[in-house]
Homo-oligomer: 525 residues x 2
């Protein structure tokens, strides 16, 4: 009798009941949750009308638009699957993922249509394309085209709601090594991820609440934009969609909409505060920013503080929906001084509710001493069951019933995890790990260092030795003096000091904006 | 592969991983979550050893003790069912509920053993009794007796964990009319109720967080003590168990343990602040108190404020696990003045996450105007599926796929619900509802009124007319003057003024401490 499944349908319906007049803002448009719900339901129904069936996969190709937000809801609500396509992949990889995902429809903005029209030959498995085009532009393609705004028109079709264990979303991991791997998530997983996130985000210093205005700067194709499109609506928060990441316009929108909360990778934060108007536009916002996707360096965090930005680290993976930890304050830390607390925000954090997390070395949990390094393994109700069409890698991921993150970390006496390396990025010199993230963190604090990456170089004697790539105008002498200081003050071991410091004008980046260490390692061969 | 069920087992395991050194306090004992977990696991295993099977029901009969806390975890963790027996029922009703619940074991403190020993003849369906008795006292009874502390001894038995849809708890509703009705809840329902509660409690003015020390004063036999034994452990909060409700000792414990958060029915709050040492012991605590079980009157809330107590209303039922709403601030209210916000805390509140709530009159949602009265109907992932062994009442409860609360309410323009009456307590005069709770709320503010209840009296002309019962030393003249004022200032309609004001020395109470209006109505016959 009591049929309340953990579905996106129920999440949205309840949110609209409780906060129907809260707003969603995109460019010059502003609509209430209630209006959004009405449109989303119409889109759901009209998708069925044009032929979309349960379990059909719809590829969404767009910037962070209002259409994308509808996709997050309307597609899963009819039991179909939203494939959030990584638009930063090269075309061949995009088509590879679309084929591997068994996409049958595409929802796309007209600005990306060139890509599709030119490559229609590779897309013979696509049954229809839904295009957002204000003027209903004509496209020369042999696949049926529907216009997005037509699909928002009133419809009174009735449809069966999905089960909570139906797949809702799928996407591909950024794949720094080899071809991207697909992961999928069910309605239930997304709802549980949202409700647990709300619990964690309510802690100091984030205190995410109904007075916040959120504008995530995590692309919507990237791990559910860290769940924020679901978490925030569930929590009744005003949501501002950024569109294409045009930094000056984003800063102006933040200022105009009084954005109080955002989330982004360090690179975007770096770009935001490097804009000439950043100080003027940001300083009154007291912006809280969740940083994830890559480690938050102390240098960047300190620079952000000067702009009134409070940063907090988070941690997760494509495989984990994504949030596993947040560097909010626990009871052992909350009464420390502001300066001390700042240190904790730079750590990887503490597990959010319902996350079981261990750091293990040779099948044994490491000591909480901030020194012993082990791999992070996790259990939680929202982890992917495995990789699409890849049994072997799925079993590897889930060996012994725990998801193996491949991230190396330590835990301190306060229970905070700090990632010291990716297992595959690890540098092993003379049989000892050299934690590249700790080195990068320290080097980032040196005047004139904008970005830094430390990678392994093959070495006959030691196996591997660290080399640092630096983007910035720091002087090599100054860096070497600082490195000696770090050694003298006991912050790093002498053998950790990189053998070389190589200056570059630009860092190679992966499709999700992280520094691509694979490319850097290749340069050293 | 990804076997993370929403079970009490996983809830506890994760809590211990994340906050293993947090404390649980009972009388002169204090133990860490980690120690609690070890003991709870041993108890689980030893319960299996003495013969407890999956799905067996264990009746717990005790005050709010540490043993009870173990029961909340150890019993469901092996797939057995905890029956929280209402110790305020008369013995015949207790045995009726135990039989109807199919109890097969009893977990009990020695102070209650008299009841069992004397009535052993009625308990031939019980296979074993686990007694908490420090001196292993002998009991003259023909049922196997085990001693609680023996069952905490180390055991290395392995057992299969329950499924999230297995029943974890059951208990009986207080039953102001007719025999008590049984309701049950699954692991999944309890876990979802906990995580949603954390989300709601994180809002202003409660801001429940890791710095809190909680001491619930809701009996553990009463609707999972409103879920606090699960919610608080999940949230990593210091937990103080009150034992038997001895007001002076409770006040001293609150002071000593620096309790910052509690939950109780209005009667208990009234008793707490009526103690002669209340002011001295409470005033530095800034105690936050959730009030539920009955409406919070303005008079009591104002008196509590003088003791540094911030009260917030909550609402729920036995059938709903229980929490449905909390009177925390939403974004429309949070920026109002403190005086205005105080008014909102007295309301029934706003739905917590994942609760769909409607107020309907003749199958139509009422307007958000604070005037139109309808019945509250709800959906949420933690509502009971129905009454034990009572198909007819279950169907009535769940007609049209919504749980019908039987509570009459209005919604204001801010989205806050305010219950104006129980459907069965409603007074209908000349075809119009007279909301007894609004009358009681106003009368409670009159000097010298300690408790008040307004009930219906049969009337030849009007059908029913209101009569007020009052406990206190107010003068009848003063009351009548105030009632005229309430009418003159438009706060109540003239025809709402009770025909009679009857003074009593004590209010009749139900087993859960609510005023028993049925007894009062009977007095008027």
């Amino acid at each position: 009798m009591n049929g309340f499944d953990l579905t996106i349908n129920n999440l949205l319906e309840t949110a609209v009941m409780n906060n129907g007049d809260q707003k969603i803002v995109y460019m010059d448009r502003s609509l209430t949750y209630k209006e959004f719900y009405k449109n989303a339901m119409n889109l759901s129904k009209n998708l069925i009308k044009i032929g979309v069936n349960r379990k059909d996969v719809i590829a969404v190709i767009d910037y962070d638009s209002l259409m994308y937000m509808y996709g997050y809801y309307s597609i899963p609500m009819i039991g179909a699957v939203m494939h959030t396509v990584n638009i930063r992949y090269p075309p061949e990889i995009i088509f590879y993922t679309m084929q591997r995902a068994d996409d049958s429809y595409i929802m796309i903005d007209e600005v990306f249509m060139d890509l599709i029209v030119k490559n229609a030959a590779y897309l013979n498995f696509i049954k229809g394309i839904i295009v957002n085009s204000k003027d209903h532009k004509h496209f020369d393609i042999n696949i049926p085209v529907y216009y997005f705004d037509d699909l928002l028109k009133d419809s009174d079709l009735e449809f069966k709601e999905p089960d909570e264990n139906d797949t809702a979303t799928l996407f591909f991991t950024s794949g720094t090594t080899g071809l991207p791997k697909g992961v999928s998530f069910t309605h239930r997983q997304l709802v549980l991820h949202s409700i647990a996130s709300i619990g964690a985000l309510s802690n100091e210093p984030i205190k995410y609440n109904i007075n916040d205005v959120v504008m995530p700067l995590v692309p919507m194709f990237h791990v559910h934009a860290w769940g924020i499109p679901y978490t925030s609506i569930m929590n009744g928060i005003k949501y501002v969609l950024p569109g294409k990441y045009d930094i000056p316009r984003i800063l102006e929108t933040m200022n105009k909409e009084k954005v109080s909360m955002s989330a982004m990778v360090p690179t975007i934060l770096y770009m935001l505060i490097s804009d000439k108007n950043a100080k003027q536009l940001l300083q009154d916002l007291n912006l809280k920013v969740i940083i994830g996707g890559a480690a938050l360096s102390r240098g960047l965090a300190e620079r952000a503080r000067a702009y009134g930005i409070d940063v907090v680290s988070g941690y997760g993976m494509s495989e984990t929906a994504p949030i596993l930890t947040l560097a909010v304050y626990n009871r052992k830390v909350i009464n420390k001084s502001d300066e001390e607390k700042f240190e904790f925000r730079l750590k990887t954090g503490i597990p959010i509710p319902m996350v079981s997390l261990r750091v293990v070395n040779n099948n044994k949990d490491v000591e909480n001493n901030g020194k012993e390094i082990g791999e992070i393994i996790v259990r939680a109700p929202w982890l992917t069951n495995g990789y699409i069409k890849d049994k072997e890698k799925s079993e590897e991921l889930w060996k012994d019933g725990w998801l193996h993150t491949g991230d190396l970390a330590v835990i301190d006496e306060y229970g905070y995890i700090k990632i010291v390396d990716r297992e595959k990025d690890a540098i092993k010199s003379g049989g000892e790990f050299i934690p590249s993230l700790i080195l990068e963190d320290l080097i980032s604090t040196i005047q004139g260092v904008n970005e830094v990456a430390v990678v392994a170089k093959a070495d006959d004697k030691w196996g591997e030795r660290p080399v640092a790539f630096i983007n910035g105008n720091a002087s090599l002498d100054e860096i070497k003096i600082k490195m000696s200081e770090f050694v003298d003050t006991g912050r790093i071991a002498k053998f950790w000091v990189p053998d070389d410091f190589i200056f570059v004008n630009e860092m190679p980046k992966t499709s999700t904006g992280k520094i691509d260490k694979k490319v850097l390692r290749d340069k050293l061969r």
